[in-house]
Amino acid sequence: MRRFRQADWDEPLIFELSRPGRVGFTPPKAEPEVSDAAGDIEELVPQNMLRREPPKLPEVSEIMVLRHYIHLSQMNYGVNSGRFYPLGSCTMKYNPVINEVLASNPGLTELHPEQDESTVQGVLEMMYWLKRWLLEITGMDDGTLQPAAGAHGEFLGCLLIRAYHEDRGEIDERREIIVPDSAHGTNPASAMMAGFKVVEIPSREDGCVDLEALRSVVGEHTAGMMLTNPNTLGIFESDIVEIAEIVHEAGGLMYYDGANLNAILGRCRPGDMGFDIVHLNLHKTFSTPHGGGGPGSGPILVKEFLSDFLPVPTVERGEEGYYLSYDRPKTIGKIHGYYGNINPMLKAYAYILSMGPEGLREAAEVSVLNANYIARKLMKVRGITLPRAPERPRKHEAVLSASEMERETGVRTLNIAKALLDRGLHAPTIYFPLIVPEALMIEPTESEPLEALDAFIEAVREISEIAYSKPEEVLSAPRNTSVTRLDEAKAAHPKTLCLSWRMYKERLRGG
């Protein structure tokens, strides 16, 4: 096993580095004519609106700020800087460096969203073609790039479902969105945001949709169903055509959560499975970096009959070039101040150029190969099982369980996760989906070499061996990260809750 030790700079808060008078950046001075024209600023600003006390920001020199944040970056773990990042459902594939170089071009970064269309033909062209390619990849007819993230796309998708039923005069009856119990938490939350009631249906033993359970809940109250395929267990819903038929016959729409699209690129398309609305995560399937939590980008793609309801504007192509069209009389309006997260879009555009049709398909196939390879090897590790239809192939990810190990040694999935961190490997997604106890949701992606897969498998095997011989060693992990186990209960407790420097100082003052 290769050793690992994460940096620990014991870094103070930026506020604790502050000394009066220090500056990290100096703005230019106003030209004399400019100062004269404005006169005394304190006279210019209405007296009751002038800030009398400066904000208590830290006073730090440039090199100190730089070092502080470089130190902090070194106490973080990225897919491009780490060793292995199998975070299930998050598709932590390589974020190509060339895309970063291209996206930092001032020809993109310095564009204002209200610029005349004739001056932004390049970016409009990019948005137009990116959408066209995404439509081809998903088998859909029209769409928008406006949502800033997957959940934002889900919210928009639910608004479109709403608008569709409203247009047909049925919104008062159609109040329900169906989601399987294995769904991402964002699905029910997005449906709620759009004013729907959520109806949860149980999954079958193999984790797939239970057709009988579905039939028993659909009806005149059904607005739609939200589904990922492959599902959160990594299993393809083979009954998808029938599922779509059941929902459509009841008058509902089918919504595709694109979190798991990576597995099927070029092999099948949501549009061909009967889905009416699709969201994609450019920060998953199309390689754009996740930035420690965002920005992402969550385009929404629809079938022709929903096109009129899309948010405005959309990029269209006319005789004089590309333009922003506001011509959608039934539009739901806007869900973002402008046109969405453009910078990630350019990276996704460049990614598609780099991959081409065969590259996208190869990415899907190798991601599936890698996931199944890991699953088959890990299910042989003592204390680890592959519950729910172990004989069926997985797609891009597999959900294993450590409940046997937990029962036999007291070592839980959480402990395995922390022990993996000690080996320089990021943990899988844990305790999700909720239908698998002690879940380890592993998505290696196509970006990982066989050597990394083997090292991960070896690490789990080693952790298992220790769990069965000296469990306390696993229970005390992690030790090689910047900090050891953190007290999450203390963080959330009303007496010790501390969400800002301001609250921290008050706490110190109060003892």
Partner: protein, 457 residues
């Protein structure tokens, strides 16, 4: 052909793996996809191209965007500002850039501490106790703030200024109307542009969940009667929501100082490039009462210690508000946010500090006033319409020419003028919204003024 991004795309490696797994072909792993939905042809997308060719194509594409002789005089919700080199250096570090949400806190202390610092800096800037670690943008932060006010007050009306940003208004409607909330517009004083207090009082009642103002306003003037507005809201048991341009807070009173319950805003000026309008940074802060914190949307980072108590550390906290735990009972569905933009804002505010921010805000307002005076002196031009103090944006109205004509003539001289308000607020006549920041030097402003002089002839 092996692909550089796919290490296992070498035929021998794949065969070795399949042999160990006891399968013959990749197709075996897709056997459960029913034949009727299998995609049998090749996707009609371009590529694959090697890196060098991708670069050539994308750079040519971006070359089709036009550059101007000076930064565009555009604002309204995204503004041209200078981004210090240190900011770009930090946000391009792979450890930050290519990490996911910090679900494993022990190995992601760097991002967690940085976001905690971001929250803390936003609190100092806005005068609030608590901030979340980001929303998508100002517009969606407004939508979420209105929903939060609805939950807290169990009321359904949101009062907004008539002269607010139409984009943000559209997003507010999309976020509130599906759950039966109503958006009600409040009139303005025609001389000053400020909220008409009488109209506000008339429209505020026991159904009012919140009163919202933008300060500086969409048209650049600063709302002065803030205490009176706060009083109207609070007397009716409503919340007071204030939307801000954070750069202005170097010079202007923080909303926490005049009774705001929720402060939102656009963090793009804090070290984030314009990027044609995204990614942006939705600021969201509120007062520190537990019942407010429990209703906040979005991720919040909290300080804690290691279990053994020996060291300080940071974790995502109060997650029982969030979708992955609470599902349909969550305060919001937001998951992926704008974390890296928040990192940029943290670095930016740390670099500028209290003095740098004050100097910058003074420079910006000086330049804006210089531009306003010079443009206002031109024949047939009025700048601005309203008599109130303007921070960095202001209206420019033309008596004899249309906004469209002036815009096209400026463009032909390599200058991008302000945004037309003709469609958004036709009652303001041939009026455009101009924005001046530290990026516009005196020389740039003079260039604009002499071009306008020519155009207006």
């Amino acid at each position: 052909m092996p692909h550089p991004y796919i290490p296992n795309s070498v035929a021998e490696i794949k065969e070795k793996m399949m042999e160990e797994m006891g399968i013959k072909s990749i197709d075996d792993l897709y056997a459960d996809i029913p034949a009727e939905v299998r995609f049998e042809r090749e996707l009609n997308v371009p590529g694959p191209y090697p890196e060098q060719e991708v670069r050539r194509r994308v750079e040519a594409l971006l070359g089709r965007n036009q550059r101007f002789r000076c930064p565009p005089f555009l604002g309204g919700g995204v503004w041209p500002h200078y981004v210090p080199a240190v900011v770009d250096e930090i946000v391009s570090r792979a450890e930050f850039l290519t990490s996911y949400t910090p679900y494993q806190p022990e190995i992601t202390q760097g991002m967690l501490q940085t976001l905690f610092e971001y929250q803390s800096l936003i609190c100092e800037l806005t005068g609030m106790e608590v901030a979340n670690s980001s929303m998508y943008d100002w517009a969606t932060a407004l939508g979420e703030a209105a929903r939060m006010a609805g939950r807290l007050t169990r009321r359904d009306a949101i009062l907004v200024p008539y002269l607010m940003s139409p984009n943000r208004l559209a997003v507010l409607r999309a976020y509130t109307e599906p759950v039966g909330m109503r958006v009600i517009q409040v009139d303005y004083d025609e001389a000053t542009g400020l909220i008409d207090l009488e109209d506000l009082k008339e429209k505020t009642n026991s159904e009012t969940a919140a009163v919202y103002i933008e300060n500086p306003s969409y048209l650049g003037f600063v709302e002065e009667e803030v205490e009176a507005i706060a009083e109207v809201a609070h007397d009716a048991g409503s919340l007071f929501i204030v939307g801000v341009d954070p750069i202005s807070l170097g010079l202007l009173r923080p909303p926490g100082d005049y009774g705001a319950d929720i402060v939102i805003g656009e963090g793009q000026p804090l070290g984030n490039h314009m990027n044609y309008g995204g990614p942006l940074l939705g600021i969201f802060a509120c007062r520190g009462e537990p019942k407010m914190i429990r209703q906040m949307p979005g991720r919040i980072i909290g300080m804690t210690t290691t279990v053994d108590g020996s060291k300080r550390g940071f974790v995502m906290t109060l997650q029982t508000r969030e979708q992955h735990i609470r599902r349909e009972r969550a305060t919001s569905n937001i998951c992926t946010n704008q974390a890296l933009c928040a990192v940029a804002a943290a670095v930016y505010l740390s670099l500028l500090g209290p003095n740098g921010l004050r100097e910058l805000a003074e420079l910006i307002t000086s330049r804006a006033h210089y531009a306003m005076r010079r443009i206002g002196e031109l024949p047939g031009v009025r700048a601005p319409i309203f008599s109130s103090y303007h921070f960095k944006e202001f209206t420019v109205s033309f008596e004899d020419r249309t906004v469209g004509e002036v815009h096209r003539e400026l463009l032909s001289r390599g200058i991008h003028g302000g945004k037309s308000l003709v469609e958004e607020f036709p009652e303001l006549g041939e009026t455009a919204l101009y924005c001046v920041t530290e990026l516009h030097t005196k020389e740039d402003i003079d260039l604009l003024v002499s071009a306008l002089e020519e155009v207006l002839g």
